[in-house]
């Protein structure tokens, strides 16, 4: 519906105003009007009333139509200005029209006002629309330029000759050329020589009206480096140019290449691994299994693929393995190493060590890798070791003889039993902070170190008597038996020490006594021998003497003296021997 037109009327003659309003009403023009007569009123209402159109008399008592027009042009140039006058004269009217007034109507032909007003309004609306359109066009052109400038993709247009018409700012990034360096140049100058042929073919297709998507070619950047670009292009028949959008493919290609490489690497590892490798879906369905894996499980791949991994597991172990897989799927970083019993085709259970590796997000793999090996031998050995370790522990702890373990490389005590603690007087903590050198006399340390060094590779069982020093400084003789053992991964010597100080002292005592006895026997027998020899000689003399001629009483006296002497000597021997046997003898 047509809106009310706001009309400002400049007219001093009320009669004429009435006639004018009548004409407008008759013509059915809905309007609101304001009548002014003076220059000041006109200027005021031009702003206040905000008219859509002005109808003005030419001759006014204090004013004139030409001046009014000039005022209007200054303030609101877009508002149509129609002269309504009885006395305007052709000449004035033409001058005014020349200056831009919209139209004129003679007062005796007032019926022309309505159509002329309508036309003026129409023209005014057209003008406004056009201005609006121009603004919009300008805005959209600016937006387009912004898109062109901000796009990470390189947007460009080519004319039919193959020359750049426009290029977006991304060219600087992708080709290292600014748009200005490209515009007007032929694409031949920038493309990789090997790609000219296929690019030409692609452009021909585009020019024929077939859009091209994901076309790849290589450009040579300003710095000389080749760069792969993915293009989409479409022909615009209106402008007769090709619109092309190019994207740097280097990154994408590198990513693709990486995936290919990863996949190849993974394949190589998968096929050649000595460990079992199996690709599983997130819920444990076997997708693929390598040769080593088939050997370990004693199933062929075609017997396994499609089955659940958990079918192969001892009922007792299946839940924990299932939980481990679940954890691994939830959190790729979770610790998911597990040992369990796997059931082979022949029904025999084997111990398996397994590690789930979540590679669901790795494009080259896209599954969970079960990495596993048969550890049955190791497991059985471990169980045996645990058992033997327990047995050893008992022997060690309950032994009445001091026992300890020391590191053959550092000589550090690694463990001591209660008997050692009790016998030597050091606490366990003290022992563990000491080396075996600390319980030796200084003069023996070199010898001990050499011996340990010497036997640490041969591992020979060794035995010998050594001097040890207790915490209280007492020296003791110990009979040592030792053997090389592995203790928590360290080469150690297990030592059993038997304190034989008492025995040694006893033997020394005996030896000392024997020595003294020998001395006594030696010396005393000699002492005995002297009187005996004398007696023998005297007896000989008696035998040789002639009893009739010689008095042998002297000889007999001498024999008696010698016998007494002998008696004294024998008594002395008995006394000395008794002295040796006395316990307090030193």
């Amino acid at each position: 519906m047509e809106e009310s037109i706001r009309i400002l009327i400049l007219e001093h003659d009320n009669h004429d105003v009435e006639l004018l309003k009548y004409e407008l009403k008759k013509a059915g023009i809905r309007h609101v009007s304001m009548v002014v007569q003076s220059r000041s009123e006109f200027e005021e209402q031009l702003i206040e009333f905000r008219p859509d159109v002005i109808l003005s008399d030419y001759n006014l008592p204090s004013f004139d139509g030409f001046s009014a027009y000039q005022i209007k042009q200054k303030i609101t140039p877009e508002i149509p200005f129609i002269l309504v006058s009885g006395t305007i004269g052709e000449e004035n009217a033409v001058t005014l029209i020349k200056h831009g007034a919209t139209d004129y109507v003679l007062k005796d032909k007032l019926y022309q006002v309505a159509p002329k007003l309508r036309r003026a309004m129409q023209e005014k609306n057209d003008r406004q629309r056009k201005a609006q359109a121009e603004i919009e066009l300008r805005q959209s052109q600016q937006q387009l330029q912004r898109i062109m400038d901000l796009s990470l993709d390189m947007i460009c247009t080519f004319n039919r000759d193959g020359r750049f018409v426009n290029v977006s700012a991304a060219s600087k990034e992708i080709l290292r050329y600014t748009p200005d360096e490209l515009i007007g140049k032929h694409w031949h100058e920038f493309i990789h020589p090997e790609d000219i042929k296929k690019t030409t073919a692609a452009l021909i297709k585009v020019a024929q009206g077939f859009p091209v998507l994901d076309f790849e070619n290589r450009y040579i950047r300003k710095d000389g480096k080749a760069v792969a670009i993915f293009w989409s292009a479409r022909w615009d028949p209106a402008e007769n140019i090709a619109y092309c959008v190019g994207r740097d493919a280097t990154e994408k290609k590198a990513a693709e290449e990486n995936i290919r490489k990863n996949e190849k690497r993974f394949r190589t590892i998968f096929e050649n691994s000595a460990d079992g490798l199996c690709m599983l879906s997130a819920d444990g369905i076997i997708l693929e299994i390598n040769n080593a894996g088939q050997k370990i499980l004693e199933y062929l791949a075609n017997e396994l693929v499609g089955r659940s991994w958990f079918d192969l597991i001892h009922n007792f172990d299946a839940p924990i393995v299932q939980k481990t897989l679940l954890d691994s799927v939830k959190d790729a970083q979770a610790d998911n190493r597990i040992e369990y019993r796997s059931k082979r085709a022949d029904g025999i259970y084997r111990w398996i060590e397994l590690n789930f590796q979540n590679e669901l997000n790795e494009p080259a793999i896209g599954s969970v890798i079960a990495h596993f090996r048969d550890i049955t031998e190791k497991k059985l050995a471990e169980l045996a070791i645990t058992e033997s370790e327990e047995r050893y522990r008992n022997l060690f702890d309950l032994s009445p003889f001091p026992m300890w373990l020391f590191d053959v490389n550092t000589f550090q005590f690694l463990d001591v039993n209660n008997a050692a603690i009790k016998h030597y007087g050091y606490s366990r903590e003290e022992f563990l902070s000491m080396t075996i050198k600390d319980i030796r006399p200084k003069e023996d340390v070199d010898k001990v170190v050499k011996m340990v060094e010497h036997t640490k590779t041969t591992g020979a069982f060794s035995r010998g008597v050594f001097t040890h020093i207790k915490k209280n400084g007492e020296r003791i003789f110990v009979d040592i038996q030792s053997n090389l053992v592995d203790f928590k991964g360290k080469k150690a010597r297990l030592v059993l020490a038997n304190d034989i100080s008492g025995r040694i002292r006893y033997i020394e005592d005996i030896e000392e006594k024997n020595k003294r006895l020998r001395e006594i026997a030696w010396i005393q027998s000699h002492h005995v021998r002297a009187p005996v020899a004398r007696i023998k000689s005297l007896i000989n003399l008696i035998k040789q003497s002639d009893p009739e001629e010689e008095d042998i009483s002297q000889l007999l006296d001498y024999i008696a003296i010698s016998v007494d002497e002998l008696d004294v000597i024998i008594k002395d021997i008995v006394t000395k021997t008794e002295e040796i046997e006395k316990p307090d003898h030193q």
């Binding site: 010396i523 002297a530 004398r534 005297l538 001498y558 010698s562």
Partner: protein, 132 residues
């Protein structure tokens, strides 16, 4: 030339046995006996005459002057050239036996007592045979 025989020992019985055997074996009719080296030395220094030779049966362990001291003392006198010594001792110390060899006058080392058979064999004992 005559040889005089001296027996030096601190044991009366030994002196008696030795003297008796020396006489009975006919090696000497009047051996002189002394209870220690000092007495023997004093006697020699006081009574030696002209070219007298002396065969001395000498013990080692004696009071006052033992056998070694006796030898040392007599070696300080011209008599040293005129004595021949046979050690007659009960010493079992091998060092004594070794020491005896250091004295040129010592010709034998006999375990005491000197018995009859030994006395007889000494007459033919080469180092002293010339004395008889």
């Amino acid at each position: 030339m005559s040889v005089k025989i001296l027996v030096v020992d601190d044991d009366d019985v030994i002196l008696f046995i030795t003297k008796t055997n020396l006489i009975k074996s006919g090696l000497c009719s009047d051996p002189l006996t002394f209870l220690n080296g000092k007495f023997a030395l004093d006697h020699l220094l006081a009574n030696h005459q002209g070219d007298d030779r002396y065969l001395i049966f000498l013990d080692i362990n004696m009071p006052l002057m033992n056998g070694w001291n006796f030898l040392d003392e007599i070696n300080k006198t011209p008599l040293s050239k005129r004595i021949t010594v046979i050690m007659v001792t009960s010493s079992i110390d091998s060092r004594d036996k070794a020491k005896a060899k250091e004295y040129s006058q010592v010709v034998n080392y006999i375990e005491k007592p000197l018995n009859f058979e030994t006395c007889q064999s000494l007459r033919n004992f080469e180092p002293i045979a010339h004395l008889f």
